[in-house]
């Protein structure tokens, strides 16, 4: 995969950073506005996919390589299970904790118990997993092209 023309590269250089930032925003505000860990992670992964499509795999993997995405994937999953298991100490798996008000107050970031933290874990997991899926498929397809 070699990447695309100058126009595509210039545009994607301009918009990749806002895309990643928007993805992070969606992850962090999942408990307040529509969205959450999964959609946010998908947006972040889409930004990485855009980089690969416009600049090619080699240029992109200098910034974020296959192993990093796989580690992020496992780490996000681990974080989620760890946060949820931490609640066992307070009585039950998934029990609301890490925030004082379990029910949450609208438009308050520090509310809704553990949900923002779960969202962050899912965001890491989904972004890593989808980026790994995309990079993995690109690598497999490139292997086919070389043959």
């Amino acid at each position: 995969m070699k990447g695309m023309s100058l126009i595509v590269r210039t545009i994607s250089r301009l918009i990749v950073a806002p895309i990643l930032l928007f993805g992070i925003y969606i992850v962090l505000h999942g408990h307040l506005t529509p969205g959450g860990g999964f959609p946010g992670g998908v947006i972040i992964a889409a930004g990485i996919a855009l980089l690969i499509l416009s600049y090619g795999l080699k240029a992109t993997t200098k910034k974020i390589n296959y192993d990093t995405t796989k580690v992020l994937d496992s780490f996000g999953a681990f974080l989620f299970v760890a946060i949820a298991s931490g609640a066992i100490a307070l009585g039950y798996f998934f029990a609301p904790y890490l925030g004082l008000i379990a029910m949450g107050t609208p438009a308050q970031w520090f509310s809704a118990g553990g949900i923002p933290y779960y969202n962050i874990a899912i965001g890491i997991k989904v972004a890593g997993a989808l980026a790994a899926m995309f990079i993995g498929l690109v690598i497999v397809i490139m292997m086919g092209e070389e043959e």
């Binding site: 496992s74 780490f75 999953a77 299970v81 760890a82 009585g91 039950y92 998934f94 609301p96």
Partner: protein, 502 residues
């Protein structure tokens, strides 16, 4: 401390393998020993926490309810551990433990083993989730977790055969899970709840409706496909042989049993026998079960590929289990549950013996083998014990469960089906002895002079399973009682509702 663990045991049994499946790729990348230890600790931890529940559940006859997030049922998701769940959960984690030990040597020549062990842990978490959950949609989610890891494991070695089998498996299996999902949607539309106990309570209140029958058909389609019921069985003889042998043992041992478990839960716990018995639904399950045992047995006879033969034999044995579910008397269900347990043990044993042949010789074609008994005495013994047990020859474990099924068949007036079941057992004995003779007796081909017995890590699970076959065969009473208590738990609908909803 112990009391705290007992209270949290149902979720810990699922979370420990889940945690291992995330930790293995994180920590086990560099060092084989860490990876292997973590993979060993997952099933071991599950067995340890589940064994704490043996006393209250089997002896006390209790149901342990665990509320996720502390939400009181019917709200939120809850786990319910009754005798049936506990029996199957311990069986699943035990077999996974043996498969992991077996994999240490068997999978050594492949790369990407971090993913392999992570997927095995995920598979186990999925199976335990299906078995322990008390929420219908949660069951679907765990069904997909289990299924997706199973597809990936079948395709793991990415040969031509594996890739094709995995594709076929996944396409058909996805249709099955979608069938389950439609069934769940119809039940939700009628009752507005997903909690199994709440469903069981509300379905009689809604009363008779064709939608319920419709949903039941979708459940039969979905779970029947998972259980390789006959018109829907075509994926199994491709997928199970293509997988690595320890995975074949797990797939045939426990993964297809989750289909039967789901069907039994839907029929007996959610609908209740009286509700289902209005339609000829149980008769259909019985007829399909008989068809399954006949087709599987006849197809197994003509195979030349050893693992493919075992896969068809699995289909045939699933027919016996469906036969028991279809009769739906207490004895028949006890026999079916006992047969689930026995078949898991003996089919895992047989697949592991076949795995030894694949590992040492590298072929699955039985016509190229012969006279291996001298070179591989333990494997030969394992294959013989497994074959005799699966054919229902005393004093091995398969005899008792099949006997219960025959008696239940005659008692309930399904003499014809019972006679077919006995005939199929004779045929099973016939083909297993023929294949045993072909592989292990006779003349040793020249190119197999140098073949050695399997390494110790692969022999250990085989020996344990041989001992289990003989032990259950000699002392069936203990396990019959366990199956009996599982049957009582699954048939006791009002008790289920009372213990979940309080």
């Amino acid at each position: 401390m112990i009391e705290g663990i007992v209270k949290q045991a149902p979720i810990l049994a699922i979370v420990i393998p889940l945690l291992m499946s995330t930790l293995i790729p994180l920590l086990g990348r560099k060092h084989t020993i860490i990876r292997n230890t973590l993979a060993f600790l997952g099933p071991l931890g599950s067995i340890a926490v589940l064994s704490l529940l043996i006393n209250p559940v089997f002896d006390g006859g209790q149901r342990i309810i665990y509320m996720l997030g502390g939400r009181i049922p019917p709200f939120g998701i809850n786990l319910v551990v009754d005798s049936l769940s506990l029996l199957l959960a311990i069986l699943a984690s035990g077999l996974t433990l043996l498969a992991v030990i077996y994999s240490y040597k068997y999978m050594k020549k492949y790369t990407g083993l971090v993913q392999y062990y992570a997927l095995v842990m995920l598979l186990m978490a999925g199976i335990l989730g299906i078995i322990l959950t008390g929420d219908l949609f949660n069951l679907f989610v765990f069904l997909e977790i289990m299924a997706i890891s199973a597809y990936a494991l079948v395709a793991f070695t990415t040969g031509k055969e594996q890739v094709e089998a995995a594709f076929k498996f996944q396409v058909l299996s996805t249709i099955g899970t979608l069938g389950v999902l439609i069934g769940i949607a119809l039940l939700y539309a009628m009752t507005g709840t997903l909690n199994m106990a709440d469903l069981a309570q509300r379905i009689p209140l809604v009363g008779q409706s064709p939608i319920f029958s419709f949903a039941l058909v979708f459940f039969l389609l979905g779970f029947g496909l998972k259980a390789a019921m006959v018109p829907l069985h075509s994926w199994l003889p491709d997928a199970h042989p293509a997988a690595p042998s320890p995975i074949s043992a797990l797939l045939s041992g426990v993964v297809i049993k989750t289909g039967v478990y789901g069907l039994a839960r839907v029929i007996f716990t959610i609908y209740g026998v009286s509700m289902v018995a209005i339609h000829p639904f149980l008769l259909a399950v019985l007829a399909l079960g008989v068809a399954t045992m006949v087709v599987g047995g006849l197809m197994a006879m003509v195979q030349v590929d050893i693992k493919r033969m075992l896969a068809f034999s699995s289909i045939s044995q699933m027919g016996y289990i469906l036969f028991g579910i279809g009769i739906a008397t207490g004895l028949a269900i006890t026999g079916a549950i006992f047969h689930v347990l026995n078949h898991a043990i003996m089919k895992a044993l047989l697949f592991m013996c076949a795995g030894v042949i694949v590992y040492r010789i590298g072929t699955r074609d039985m016509s190229k083998l012969g006279g291996l008994a001298k070179k591989m005495p333990v494997t030969a013994l394992g294959f013989l014990v497994g074959g005799l047990a699966i054919a229902g020859i005393p004093p091995f474990n398969g005899f008792w469960s099949k006997l219960m099924l025959y008696i239940a068949g005659f008692q309930s007036g399904n003499s014809l089906a019972a006679v077919v079941a006995i005939l199929m057992s004779v045929i099973t004995l016939g083909y297993f002895l023929r294949f045993f003779q072909q592989i292990f007796l006779g003349k040793l081909p020249k190119n197999l002079e140098e073949v050695k017995e399997a390494p110790l890590a692969m022999l250990l699970p085989i020996v344990i399973l041989i001992l289990l076959c003989i032990l259950i065969g000699l002392y069936p009473q203990v396990f019959m009682n366990l199956s009996q208590s599982a049957t009582n738990a699954v048939l006791d609908q009002t008790g289920y509702i009372r213990s979940v909803l309080g």
